[in-house]
């Protein structure tokens, strides 16, 4: 009965088509074009003809191997050790540059290594920077998505109360979102500087115990600094989404729970949270997508450095596509990113499915 009432191919397509058509023309079609480019050697600027190269771009990006290196042995057959007693190893470049005995490693670079007994296991890749950008992006998503989502919910609950002047606070919490990320990144560069405000405040709070750090110049802290700033900047955005979700929860449910004498936590657990289901999925997906698209902050604050510690996948597509004129390489990264995020969202969807 109900399904018959709501079944209409004509109305369905009619309502969806204008929006869907635009999305197809301006997002789907260009994306397929990018996919096509990833199979060619297309350059951004070139008089040379475009050639089909198959999956070369993919293998250039993704080739990764483990190289086992034995310690250096002296004439007597003993392992050469440095002052600390650690064995010395030959340089990786001896294996990866012009060495006919190891053609499979040619042109590869070290990403990281670990030790198995006295043998060094070195992970080498043709495109170490790409692998680092992948790692950084995943790290960023893993930190930012949960922290930002939770903080945003906390703020939304805090702000969703009737209090004189609450609108002022609501506006203030949203302000970092209002200002462009470009602007915010410029401002935070001043804060993070070695002689900058953050160090001075931490120094004052710790009575001089805290020694200033070069937040954006140190590979150990640069990504964390960008994560912190990104969370700060966009948390208001998700607060607004949570807020609109909170407002769809019927007040009668709250009245019922207060009549039953439920505690605040119980009210949240059994009334608020279930009512936020669809909002939660929305927030989770939006945060994840945005985190994967991380670019502007990195471009302005660190240009991906120091030592590639903050470069991201999208940053790499821009660096290569525009800066290095390698539009086919950049398109390849886009396709890989798409497939990666698609599989993650399918997993997310499976985990949050309605049971």
């Amino acid at each position: 009965m109900a399904s018959k009432l709501t079944t209409s191919n004509r109305a369905g397509w009619g309502f969806a088509l204008p929006g869907f058509g635009l999305i197809t023309l301006f997002i789907v079609v260009p994306f397929f074009f990018a996919f096509f480019l990833s199979l060619t050697n297309q350059r951004l600027i070139s008089p040379n003809p475009t050639e089909f190269v198959g999956l070369d771009n993919y293998s250039n990006l993704l080739s990764i191997r483990v190289l086992s290196i034995e310690p250096v042995v002296n004439d007597a057959g003993d392992i050469v050790r440095d002052a600390d007693g650690n064995p010395e190893y030959p340089r990786v470049r001896d294996f990866t540059r012009n060495n006919p005995d190891y053609p499979q490693y040619d042109g590869m670079r070290e990403w990281f290594r670990w030790h198995s007994g006295e043998t060094a296991k070195v992970v080498v890749a043709t495109d170490v920077v790409f692998w680092k950008s992948l790692r950084n992006t995943l790290m960023f998503v893993l930190v930012v998505a949960p922290v930002q989502g939770t903080l945003a919910l906390g703020l939304a609950l805090l702000i969703n109360q009737r209090l004189r002047g609450i609108n002022i606070y609501r506006a203030i919490y949203f302000m970092p979102v209002v200002v462009s990320i470009v602007v915010v990144s410029l401002l935070w560069r001043f804060l993070y500087a070695e002689e900058g405000l953050l160090n001075n405040i931490l120094g004052a709070l710790s009575f001089g115990m805290f020694e200033g750090r070069d937040w954006l110049g140190d590979p150990d802290t640069a990504l964390g600094a960008i994560e912190a700033m990104s969370i700060w900047q966009a948390v208001g955005f998700h607060m607004v989404i949570w807020l609109s979700g909170l407002q769809t929860i019927s007040p009668t449910l709250y009245e019922a729970s207060s009549i039953e004498g439920a505690s605040k936590w119980q009210t949240f657990r059994y009334v608020t949270w279930p009512g936020l289901r669809n909002t939660a999925i929305l927030v989770l997906i939006v945060i994840t997508m945005q985190a994967f698209a991380l670019f502007a902050q990195v471009d302005i604050m660190t240009s991906g450095g120091p030592l590639d510690s903050t470069t991201t996948v999208v940053h790499q597509t821009v660096v290569r596509g525009y800066g290095k004129q390698d539009i086919s390489g950049a398109s390849t990264i886009s396709v890989i990113l798409f497939l990666l995020v698609l599989s993650i969202s399918l997993i997310q969807r499976y985990l949050t499915r309605e049971k």
């Binding site: 050697n41 350059r43 951004l44 600027i45 070139s46 008089p47 040379n48 340089r91 990786v92 470049r93 540059r97 042109g107 670079r109 070290e110 170490v128 560069r189 001043f190 500087a193 070695e194 002689e195 900058g196 070069d214 937040w215 954006l216 110049g217 140190d218 590979p219 660190t302 240009s303 450095g305 120091p306 030592l307 590639d308 660096v319 525009y322 800066g323 290095k324 004129q325 390698d326």
Partner: protein, 420 residues
Amino acid sequence: MTNTKTLAGALLLTTSFGSMAMAQTELTMWYHGGGNEVESAIITQIVDDFNAGQADWMVTVESFPQGSYNDSVVAGALAGNLPCILDVDGPVMPNWAWAGYMQPLPISDAAIEGHLESTIGRWGGEVYSVGLWEAAVALYARQSTLDELGLRTPTLDSPWTLEEFMGALEAAKASGKYEYAFDPGMAWTGEWYPYAFSPFLQSFGGDIVDRSTYQTADGVLNGDAGLAFGAWWQSLFTEGYAPGTSQDPADRDTGFIDGKYAFSWNGNWAGVATLDGGVEDVVFLPAPDFGNGSVIGAGSWQFGASGTCAHPEGVAAFVEHALQDKYLAAFSDGIGLIPSTTEGAALTANYNAGGALEPFFGLSEAQALVRPVSPGYVVAAKVFEKALADIANGADVADTLDAAVDEIDADIERNGGYGH
């Protein structure tokens, strides 16, 4: 709504006036001076004089902010939407010429006679672009600093050697008066790195690519000279002589003036600001000689004709008009650039004999070396920039330079040798 109407009306008015102006052929010009009022005023003056002075051509200017100018041109070219007259940064010109974005400029030899060679853009044996000015880089210092530290004042004929330079940095560091001894300008990412720092590499005897063939960087970027340069470059940061890649952009602009840095590697464009900032005893020292002569970068913005332009002769007429000494002097006085002729320099306030910035003219004549003249430079420059940033941040010198060589070589190969 009224606003839109007025705006549309105003636009309509200007266009109809424009088309009324006789049978002049319209030539659009793209210029990188958006946001620079002085520069815009001068270019407008040149264009107005040109349009009024002859009956064949009518130039109209479209301004772009410099920071995004190249991206705009590439996008315009991809979309088949280039103007007739293009403004192009010297080292980028071969790339655009090779790609067909530009065509040879039919300018007479007489018009460019006596100009600094680095202001003339040549590719494949033909002139593609001509510039009205040059820029130069010098080692900024205070005379009082040199005196206090007991340092010899280097000259063009007798620049500091590597030992003297490092001795100067050590002395400045030991004095304890400076936050850092030397400010190379790491906060200025982008073209500054290859422009300002590749001359150090060249002074060591290396280069970004092998200029005999332009087919590889192997052996010049990662050869012995390259490795020596890399080790020296890294020591600037590990020994605490220079602020690294995370330098506060504000410090780059004011650090030397504020006395935070003893020496600063900076361009002539900062000269006036430094004098105005109260550093009256500033001296502009020539680049140190690291063994293979003193070198500074060369090649600034130039004018040329786009590949799709139907009237290159009109472009040439405009460029010849713009090359008059009075305009060279106007640009120099307005924005501090070095005029491309001695006659032009004589007309300026700062570069005439005895002028405050005169040393830069000498530097340009004596030490200037253009960046590799190759379509592949654009990509090699980005690779070089990243390598220098990585080495400054502690990456292994040999591995980093090897990787840079691999990337540059792979790019040259993918582009079929870039037409050399």
